[in-house]
């Protein structure tokens, strides 16, 4: 019964960011994130009741409702993309191409793995399915974060907390699910404490970063940089090749 206090702390932790955002009137700025968090809160409260009232129904309910979080998590990634790149149409265009590529690759892998002839008839467990969907999410989020870093997109404290917190949550979930799948019931005991422990850390990140409204900084518009992309790109490439040429000529003299 030692997990009951952890559970209660988790419920309190999940309710703090939405309550604080509601108080400070910025709950509408991150709709998907707060929808996600409130759905998780509702689910956990429901599971908590079921666990004591009808313990036999708990595992079934746990795995069936797990997918609501997975679907809303996709919305969270989409929200991060929309908010962060709203002022950067160039990076947004690159992000669309990159995310489409990553999605096709990871989701294609997921489909091939699940619909191949060998495993067509195999009854897949909810754990395997969740693991595969989490892999898709991790790949998408990692591609998005890499793009933010590549184009030096400022995220602001709120969005940074959401993205990094969710990234940490996904990664720890992935590791947990993989170990649970590989080791089976022997890992169950560790998993009972490890998963909530990681989740507490994620909740702490979210509470800290979303304590007050810190929007994404607006870029300083420099009119002289409103240039023709093709010409600018060509100039960069010429300068890069010139540098390479100079390096080569320097050593060949």
């Amino acid at each position: 019964m030692t997990f009951v206090p952890i559970w209660i702390i988790g419920l309190i932790g999940e309710s703090v960011p939405p309550v604080r955002a509601f108080q400070k009137d910025f709950i509408g700025q991150y709709k998907w994130f707060y929808s996600y968090l409130m759905s998780v809160l509702a689910r956990d409260a429901c599971l908590f009741t079921v666990y004591f009232a009808r313990p036999k129904s708990y595992p079934t309910l746990y795995w069936r409702t797990e997918f609501i979080g997975v679907v809303l998590g996709c919305g969270l990634v989409w929200e991060a993309y929309k908010i962060a790149l709203a002022s950067y149409p160039g990076s947004a265009r690159m992000a669309r191409s990159l995310l489409a590529l990553v999605f096709i690759f990871t989701f294609g892998r997921f489909l091939v793995k699940n619909w191949s002839a060998a495993s067509w008839t195999r009854v897949r467990t909810a754990l395997d399915l969740e693991l595969d969907l989490r892999v898709v999410q991790v790949a998408l989020l990692f591609a998005l974060v890499a793009l933010f870093a590549y184009y030096a997109i400022p995220l602001g404290k709120n969005l940074k907390g959401i993205v990094y917190g969710y990234g940490l949550f996904l990664v720890t979930s992935l590791v947990n699910l993989t170990l649970r799948g590989q080791l089976g019931d022997s890992f169950q005991r560790v998993w009972q404490y490890m998963q909530p422990g990681c989740y507490m850390l994620v909740l702490a990140i979210w509470t800290w970063s979303l304590w007050s409204y810190r929007p994404v900084p607006k870029p300083k518009v420099q009119p002289e940089l409103e240039l023709h992309y093709a010409a600018f790109m060509r100039a960069t490439r010429v300068k890069l090749l010139a540098a390479r040429d100079r390096l080569a000529r320097g050593t060949r003299i």
Binding site: P89, A152, T251
Partner: protein, 183 residues
């Protein structure tokens, strides 16, 4: 079980660190960077100046001349200094190109007509420069500037010979070549 927890913790810390490093990597410090125009000078005078420096840096004539005139210790110190200057030159070129590339990313991120394919080409050019300069840096640090230059010359000749052999073996029917040369 303890080992598993250690492995798990290590993975989480490694992933967290990689995210942190990615975040730091993207920060553009305009003050630390040259301006776009000053980043890579295109004036012929600057280029001639660079040619003069590199001609002397990577040539073995001075070292050969000094070898008979001064003590071994002085020759060694001369080589060390020359290596240090050559490494500094390569480092400076790398910094300039990094600044140019950073400026490019910072400027194009707001451009609506950005082309992902062209961006990949720019990234490829940048990476090829980084690999080439990194290799040169390593060679200079290990072998010294004149021996490194000899090695570069030798590898260029070998590459040209290989290219000629390939061209003879596989005649190109309708090659599509994109040539961008510095003016």
């Amino acid at each position: 079980m303890m080992a598993l927890i250690v492995v798990f913790s290590f993975l989480v810390v490694a992933l967290g660190l990689s995210l942190f490093v990615l975040g730091r990597l993207g920060r553009v410090s305009a003050a630390a960077c040259y301006s776009l125009d000053a980043a890579l000078p295109a004036e012929p005078q600057a280029d001639i100046f660079v040619s003069d420096i590199t001609a002397n840096l990577f040539s073995s004539q001075d070292a050969a001349f000094l070898a008979g005139e001064i003590t071994c210790d002085s020759v060694r110190r001369f080589r060390e200094m020359r290596t240090s200057i050559a490494l500094g030159w390569v480092r400076r070129e790398r910094e300039r190109v990094s600044c140019l590339f950073r400026d490019h990313r910072r400027n194009v991120r707001s451009t609506a007509d950005l082309s992902p394919v062209d961006e990949v080409k720019v990234l490829r050019d940048f990476l090829s420069f980084q690999v080439m300069s990194g290799l040169l840096y390593f060679l200079i640090a290990v072998r010294g500037p004149s021996r490194a230059a000899r090695l570069v010359r030798w590898s260029c000749v070998a590459a040209e010979k290989l290219q000629a052999i390939v061209d003879r073996a596989i005649p190109a029917s309708s090659p599509t070549v994109e040539v961008i040369r510095p003016e």
